[in-house]
Symmetry: C2
Subunit: 345 residues, 2 copies
DNA sequence: CTATGCTGGGCAAGCGTTTTCCGGCGACAG
DNA sequence: CTGTCGCCGGAAAACGCTTGCCCAGCATAG
């Protein structure tokens, strides 16, 4: 495994020369080409490659084959446990398939997302997985669709996560159904008057969850008035903030808060604790996602469990399957009741 | 922006033809080459590129230039907040520099790490940032060093995070000092008899933090007996597990637990809560890293704050700086005292 | 008016692979 | 013994881009 003395990495050329065969034979020996090569030669090549520490140049391969081995994953924020869990699943499975994972971070900015996808074209990725929560904006959606279609025309597979409305294969998360189930479970446990902490209303995921929650309440003749919905960022700090605004308004007529995701719930819990509100004694709280932390806060958080790593896996599976480009895989959550929503007297 | 009708993406060739100039002129117009090109031509080329929806093929550029625009980040586990925070910083800054970030996950397996680095060679990355906590294993270390040196010989910059002993630029985290400071702070608050929850002893980071903690105690004539050190995985579940083992042993003679990282601390807190141990009433606890969750658990966790995103930024800075390849930037933590370690009567 | 530079376009040679195509060779059938 | 065919090695043409080099055109100086 001694490298060539001078700076340059060994090329296939070097290997071929070292093994005393042609470039073609060397190439055919080193990757499972369709053509067979004599075992003697093959061994000589492998041995030479090993000795020189040869590793094929991926870029050269891409350009020669006309197809890269890159998977591009786009997320809103990799530090958010929701996305890092998905990423974890995606990267693991991608590796298994011999794909190199690249990652783009939109910082929850639709404009940035568009930029990222655009520059992605340059990579000629074989798979693009768009996991950033999408916004409701026809204009940007259309541009994004165009870019993604361009990538698809270049031979790349596009998979959306949790975004039903674009014409690509998608791993859909049943936000509506999960939130509905959660609402039912909460009502069953005796809660009657709710408030909600949510992300900006242009955020698809937030909308769907809120709508689902309302649907669940409606089944029991309950409703969630607009004035009890507090909008903020879709993050921990957003939850902290929205929780504060809820307190300012007053919580006399509220017995349970639904945060549209766990990080917001966790932020809100911190705020409530700081302000001396007893959770769950005075106010119960529930979230959505079941991030790892949900078990570890006090009280442990009632939520809707989403098999996040599995979402990543499903995305990859879709990407490698034969589809018409409009396949939809739905992943459903499951209500997990914990101490943050005890049975109510 | 209408693509060519047939499947193939437009190439520079197409743009040149469309603009009625040579390949060379087209190339020079589209990237800031050293050579100037007449404004008339330049405009024509840009316009043609726009019209065709041309985006340069990154692979082709890499191979033509002999240098890629890839940054490779290697972490143990992207779902761990420690690493995802670092990744967040790295990816953001990389993007700013026009680098595409690829990511590899070692799953805390040194063997896998080696594999990953090996296949990385194929990417000819311009920068490699190795953030996975390294192990103490001379054999593997040497192989890893060889691989990384090979990459460096190919013109890539290698930066280690939190790993002092390898001959590369490194962003060092002052684990020893931070843990020492923490110990001092805890003693000052009245704690006298400690236990520790730690990762496997072959894990550098765990060792250093434990050693630092002991050093701090020693300054007050205190010590941490081996039998009060509980080893487990460097994860939340590891903390949960180690906490349980500690309880089995008995905690009559312990008033404060030091977990070598926050996720372990959080896991342990959950275990303690489950077992009915009052935290911090009966037992105080402190961690290390100051992950986001540390503020949100109850009681809020005393810890050592590490500016994790900044660590990522520092790594990139090192990678782009002129160094001898042995530069060391040290990042220090700062003790943050919270409710998990109240002043002791 | 010629010598000298400088500017900037274009030709073509790479970069490290894969893959097509050609041709030599051995096997086997007639 | 000849004709066919399949097998497989090697030469060379791609793949999409950058860049060294040449050279035409023009401005400036002597």
């Amino acid at each position: 495994m001694n490298e060539t003395i001078h700076g340059m990495p060994p090329t296939l050329h070097d290997v071929a020369r070292e093994a005393g065969v042609s470039l073609a034979t060397a190439s055919r020996s080193l990757n499972g080409s369709t053509r067979k090569v004599n075992e003697t030669y093959r061994a000589r090549v492998l041995e030479a490659a090993e000795r020189l520490g040869y590793v094929a140049n991926l870029s050269a391969q891409s350009i020669a084959k006309g197809t890269s081995s890159t998977l591009a994953l786009i997320v809103s924020d990799i530090a958010d446990p929701y996305f890092s869990s998905i990423a974890s699943g995606v990267v693991r499975d991608a590796e298994q398939l011999g794909l190199v994972s690249t990652i783009g971070i939109t910082q929850r900015d639709a404009k940035r997302e568009l930029d990222i996808v655009r520059t992605l074209r340059g990579q000629r990725p074989r798979v693009v997985i768009v996991a950033g929560s999408r916004f409701v904006d026809a204009e940007l959606d259309e541009q994004l669709t165009r870019e993604l279609e361009a990538i698809r025309n270049l031979g790349g597979r596009v998979v959306m996560v949790s975004q039903r409305s674009l014409p690509f294969d998608t791993v859909q998360i049943d936000n509506h159904g999960g939130a509905r189930d959660l609402a039912l479970a909460l009502v069953e446990r005796g809660y009657r008057s709710f408030a909600a902490l949510t992300g900006v209303s242009s955020l698809m995921t937030a909308r769907d969850r809120l709508a689902g929650f309302r649907a669940g309440l409606a089944e029991h003749g309950l409703e969630l008035a607009e004035e009890r919905v507090f909008e903020s960022d879709f993050t921990r700090d957003g939850g902290y903030d929205a929780g504060g605004r809820m307190l300012e308004r007053g919580i006399d007529d509220i017995d349970c808060v639904f945060a549209v995701n766990d990080v917001m719930a966790v932020g809100a819990m911190s705020r409530l604790r700081e302000e001396g509100v007893d959770v769950p004694g005075r106010l119960a709280i529930a979230g959505f996602d079941d991030i790892a932390t949900a078990r570890d806060v006090t009280p442990a958080l009632t939520t809707v469990r989403l098999p996040l790593e599995q979402v990543g896996a499903a995305a990859i599976e879709l990407a490698t399957a034969e589809t018409d480009g409009h396949a939809i895989v739905t992943i459903s959550g499951e209500v997990v009741v914990r101490e943050s929503t005890p049975q109510r007297g």
